[in-house]
Subunit: 475 residues, 2 copies
């Protein structure tokens, strides 16, 4: 079996912890591991790491790889879409890439859901795989535990011959109204559509060709338009022609494109505890609470709070008398919201986008292939950053038109190249990179390199950079 | 008339904006000016600045002076108590200092209340002054607008002869229960005790000697134990003997010590809008709200909030669906609390004190007589600060046992003395102060000097300082 993880998150619902550069699947909001790490770990007993593929977008490729490297995940199993086009084009892309293995079973998983009972999950997937071998397009149906109006529902039809726990799909229903959802819950033959699918490569290709030719036909030779990203992490990217093709695809879901029109759709019902982690309030079902139903980070001090989630990033938070509130604190942005309004965080994020607030895009700590940097302070004329370079990594050879940079090593060893000089610096040594100088910073040591950079100039902008050579193909 | 402002605030109720180092009267929570600035401005039409005195404690002296210098306030009109001993010792101290002017009228004001109608305030004080000239101990009684259980009440007795709007005091009542407070409100002859008093120096001394000899007798020669603080800001401090005397005084209020037992107490009722700004919720009566009753700082984005106060320090705050909440954000600490629980901030602060959280004492920006510093980041082995030195000011000549300091000028001109070297630095020049070096930083220019200091060492502690000479008498 091939597992394909769809990691196309946009980073809106878990703002301010999620950002455009850092969507939900890359967050550790439901345990120590991030959601995508949990997704991979859940699959490993079924699929070895070299049979797992991830479709994500270019912006998140480095971070995704850095989170999955510890599992032995190979960069060339990550395919970076040039733009998000919903699930049907992503599935079609995977199906095209594996078309020389038509009988192979391909299973598709969202990267950012929580399933807290792996045994039931594995058993259910086994049943789905068996049905897929009979050429069905199989979807997992999760037994509802409440009259949820935010999910799609699947009506279970007749049992399928010679298969264990597999049924025809009677009907798909998009997000129902409250009354319908309550009816579904009582009926006991409706299941939540949880976005996990299993099918033969040949079967899903055939169905896509029949029901969604606009999605799959342009991808016919797509493999020839994929190439390895330049540099140290050769994930797979589209060339210009490939980008054009992918961008031309309609943005539609696999449910709508194939599952609904298909005559071969099957559902495998399951009682596995599934949570799509759709909003901050969804953490209620996942996190460990104190005696009063609170989930509180370290450094939160409270008086008489109940049912409250406070996620803090180290700052001291004093909470008095809160009831069922959500507080999420990050160095540059804070969210406060009652749990029953968690869905409306979207509305807030829409406004922040419209007003072009930078807190929508980046965190103060920005992950880079070589490590990360953190903005400590920006004021007129200067900007102070902490820069952390991982052992063996290197920033690009670069220059800046509008700023000089002053570097002070506070920990580790720095290899600095500046025009024709080369030097090794240790704490508390410093150097100045003049405006316009071609320079490079690397960590030749075995410890983390930490330096305090102070930029000086009239224009202090990340875009003021000219790259000459780069380990990660960004030049 | 002499005005004495009692500025003994402890900085608890308005945490996290107030800190032990930065109590309520020094905050601009009710307008552009700080509360003590507003108090002084309110008095100026009645008392020239050279007839205004302030009693505060040593810790707050520099900041109080720096806030009042623009009004021409003279440092020697500030008397710094070595410890807080409530209002009776402070009043007795003032009365002793002015005992050679026995017929002078002395008025006493809290530093941290808001009175939004200065005309009525001035008219009321005129009536109080007239009564004081007849040897009464006069207290202002504010007409209640609600059945407040948090204030003391004064029962108005018979009208006093030949005086306009002055009455005998029938009775003082400490904070009443709800039922009593409602009765008082209906009765229309009870008034709030707002802590503003007017009396002849001779009268208050006589009453103190009669009813509170333990408070005033030890202060008989206190003037001989006061001296000018050393350095550039010669406010008045106690010598060691004076400190012992003051510390030995009982901690009691002037109401309890004198007003209640006195047979000469009078009340001047007033309708002036008075607010003791006792808790965050008290800002409701003072601040301008938007159409939904919200008071929101810049950089607050909200969806569907009502009656909510968000005080932010520049970080982006997203508030969704909040009802009657208080949110106060500072760089190192955040408070969230429903308005009707604002009194319980005290409980939170008590816990933070017990746990010795530094956020109780100092802000990340710490005011100093020479300017201020702001901690940008502290991590293992290093600490990054922004240091701002005012034109013409200078830090002490000092050394540190455990740390080296690295200075980078980002704005203005620095005069640096380090062992036997002297130099002038401008942006982006740097210097390193080695461990143990005797050094001094000064601003010889006319612009603000800003530098980024990175401290390096195993122990990074404000107490690791040896001062040799200091402009402000701190050596």
């Amino acid at each position: 079996m091939i597992s394909v993880i769809l990691a196309g998150g946009s980073g809106e619902r878990f703002w301010p912890l999620s950002r455009e550069s850092h969507p939900k699947q890359l967050l550790n909001i439901a345990g120590e591991k991030t959601l995508i790490q949990q997704t991979v770990e859940r699959l490993l007993p079924l699929t070895p790491i070299d049979r797992i593929y991830i479709i994500t977008n270019e912006q998140h490729a480095f971070q995704t790889l850095s989170q999955l490297t510890p599992y032995g995940f190979s960069p060339d199993h990550l395919i970076a879409e040039p733009v998000g086009r919903n699930t049907a084009p992503a599935v079609a892309l995977a199906a095209e890439l594996f078309k020389d293995q038509p009988d192979e079973i391909m299973a598709v998983f969202p990267a950012d859901h929580v399933i807290s009972d792996p045994d039931t999950f594995h058993a259910t997937l086994g049943q789905a795989e068996a049905a897929a071998r009979q050429d069905y397009l199989v979807t997992l149906g999760v037994k509802p535990t409440r009259a949820e109006t935010g999910y799609g529902y699947i009506l279970k039809g007749g049992a399928l011959d010679k298969l264990d726990n597999a049924f025809q799909v009677g009907q798909f229903t998009e997000k129902p109204d409250r009354e319908t959802a309550e009816h579904f819950l009582k009926q006991k033959k409706y299941y939540w559509n949880c976005g996990i699918f299993t099918w033969k490569v040949s079967a899903v290709r055939a169905e896509l060709e029949e029901h969604a030719p606009k999605v799959i036909k342009p991808l016919a030779n797509i493999e020839s338009h994929l190439q390895s990203a330049k540099g140290k992490f050769p994930f797979r990217v589209f060339n210009d022609q490939g980008k054009k093709i992918f961008e031309s695809l309609p943005s539609i879901s696999i449910d709508y494109a194939v599952m609904e029109p298909s005559k071969n759709a099957a559902v495998v019902p399951t009682t596995m505890p599934w949570n799509d982690v759709g909003a901050w309030s969804a953490l209620d079902g996942i996190s460990k609470t104190d005696g009063d139903g609170n989930v509180l980070s370290k450094n939160v001090y409270q008086v008489d709070c109940t049912g409250t989630l406070v996620k803090a990033d180290g700052r001291l938070i004093g909470a008095v008398g809160l009831r069922d509130m959500i507080v999420v604190d990050t160095p540059d942005a804070l969210l406060i919201c009652p749990k029953d309004r968690a869905q409306d965080v979207k509305q807030l994020v829409a406004e922040l986008k419209e007003k072009q607030r930078p807190q929508i895009k980046l965190h103060t700590t920005v992950q880079k292939p070589w490590g990360c940097y953190t903005t400590l302070e920006q004021r007129d004329g200067y900007l102070v950053k902490r820069i952390e370079v991982l052992p063996g990594e290197s920033l690009s050879l670069q220059s800046h038109q509008h700023r000089a940079e002053h570097w002070l090593v506070v920990s580790g060893k720095a290899e600095v190249e500046c025009d024709d000089k080369k030097m090794i610096l240790k704490a508390p040594e410093t150097t100045v990179i003049p405006k316009g100088a071609k320079h490079r910073l690397a960590n030749p040591g075995k410890e983390l390199l930490i330096l305090i950079e102070t930029q000086l100039g009239d224009i202090l902008d990340e875009n003021d950079i000219k790259r000459y050579t780069d380990l990660y193909g960004r030049a």
